[in-house]
Symmetry: C2
Amino acid sequence: MATIKDVAQSAGVSISTVSLTFANPERVSPDTAQRIWKAADLLGYRPNPLAQSLKRGRSRMIGVLVGDISSPFFGRLLKSVEKRALERGYLMIVADTDGDPARELELLDQFTAQRIAGLMISPHGSSAAYGRRLAGFKTPIVMVDHRFRGADLDYVASDTRMAARMLTDHLINLGHRRIAQITGPVQLYTAAERVEGYREAMQAAGLQVDEGLLVDGRYRDTESYAQTMRLMTRRDKPTAILAASNMMALGALQAIQELGYSCPQDVSLATIDDIPWSAVIQPKLTMVLQDIEQIAQISADYLLDRVEATSPIPIAPRESVLVPRLSIGNSTAPPTLKTDLDHLHVSLSS
Amino acid sequence: MATIKDVAQSAGVSISTVSLTFANPERVSPDTAQRIWKAADLLGYRPNPLAQSLKRGRSRMIGVLVGDISSPFFGRLLKSVEKRALERGYLMIVADTDGDPARELELLDQFTAQRIAGLMISPHGSSAAYGRRLAGFKTPIVMVDHRFRGADLDYVASDTRMAARMLTDHLINLGHRRIAQITGPVQLYTAAERVEGYREAMQAAGLQVDEGLLVDGRYRDTESYAQTMRLMTRRDKPTAILAASNMMALGALQAIQELGYSCPQDVSLATIDDIPWSAVIQPKLTMVLQDIEQIAQISADYLLDRVEATSPIPIAPRESVLVPRLSIGNSTAPPTLKTDLDHLHVSLSS
DNA sequence: GTGAAAGCGCTAACAG
DNA sequence: CTGTTAGCGCTTTCAC
């Protein structure tokens, strides 16, 4: 592995000149520069990033901290972020937090020790102490997908409250009144927003929210499966279900099918987030899609802009909240006579 | 950020003693060690990994190079690898090669420059030059999922040839004779192996392989969709299809459904690799599953064992080829009278 | 324009 | 047992 010293020797100059040539070619005479460049690629010289980083106190790596690397959402996000980062000359170091704030903080320390240039994080903490740690972080941060309320940091995501509102509206317009939502854990920002969007739509339509129809699926397919089982075996079961995430929609669908119900005849189902291979799932689900590649691109750019910012005056936090797109499948339909009668019957007899 | 110097000062010793204490506590008197440890965590001292790596010529990071971060297989693999690596004190840097050998090589150089401790790679190259580059790499390597033939490197994967054989046997035993395979690009190791396994099973059963039934789906759902369309609109269409990957199975299923055929009545479908949320896909696919977490664990351990090996005599390359598990769904069934008659009719009239 | 020198934070002989 | 010293490879004043 050739070092700067080898290049200097081979070009007959001092190492400072070599260094200068790579950093600031104009400040070096054209022909020494030529000699140096030639020597450099003859030797296959690559500056040692470790030495550079040690000297500069900062590496050319960005850290990415997500709740679940293996989820389809983050998979696609990481792919695009890595690509964008690489284009701009940064490598990506990734860690999985399992959605555990304590792990996040520990990993944050490790990343700090590595002198990462910037951090992309999907924050899962909610305590004040957690917030203080995030805020006290000195390297640039961008929050993606999730957010910590009140943190003055860049934030990129799709408008998840609007997503819930769009789907709820759609169900209401079809004639549904008893609409359940399988929510995420409500201490999480996105989960709370999705509940909020649902409430807004219900209120706007003058409908009363039955709190019993808001059940926590913990963003997990298994938990959603269990909750759907409970919902659908109630006497006053909902005529429509809104799943707050794709994994949960699949869990719900499985429960519906195993109970012998069919969708959308017996119950409508709508979901937030894209489902991979949604085309082959029967029925084709009504859902809102987010443009993951765009989220990745914007968040990577926010982060790297901040990393490379030279001006002494700090950049004000930026936000990008993208409008999701409604895709109507055939998992949603007007409530049938049957469903209505069921409900009527229950109402009268209970 | 406290440095070793701060700790030394605060504990009233020299920096070498501090360093020694962390590296080799027994060689330091118990009470100086105590003083140093106390000072260290009072100051929140963490050794600067950049400085350590520069000095040692090797960092505590492993590089992972995969063809597609966002695929469900690699998503789960990365998650487990990262976890295992972290347990053993290593961070993970990931890059996506898009299955392009040239990109792999470039990324390899970048990783080398970073002085990674080890490399986990799913190699997609096939040229001799590529092989030479891999072989000439001085840091430990483990190949995972894919392999480069003839490279003397650790290798971990499930027995993909056996997987193809198992599925083909299953179809043959059901009575199928005209079995198509939607293959991956055959210059890739896994794709070639899957074809090979298919051939072995056919030969063992004394069946002739119709080369026209081996079509390249490029490991892509869209391409598989197109190929299935072609296959199923032929006059001598197959009675069963074996998809060499999960994405391709989904593409095939979509084509089958859109053509108005039903599976398994009109055609059986079997696939290699686990499909996420397979429970909600109708029909439930017959497939072979691989234990991704185990692959991840073994490959991470192979790699880190090599990284941490102290003995001067080199470890011989190790291989772990896991036996996959057959999971029979309801996408495979004996060929129906209808299918057979169709075929007979074609045979007579053509 | 170019070079000498100091230092980023740490490790590892080598002395004492 | 502990301290001194010489780097690892690079950047960055500051002279010449």
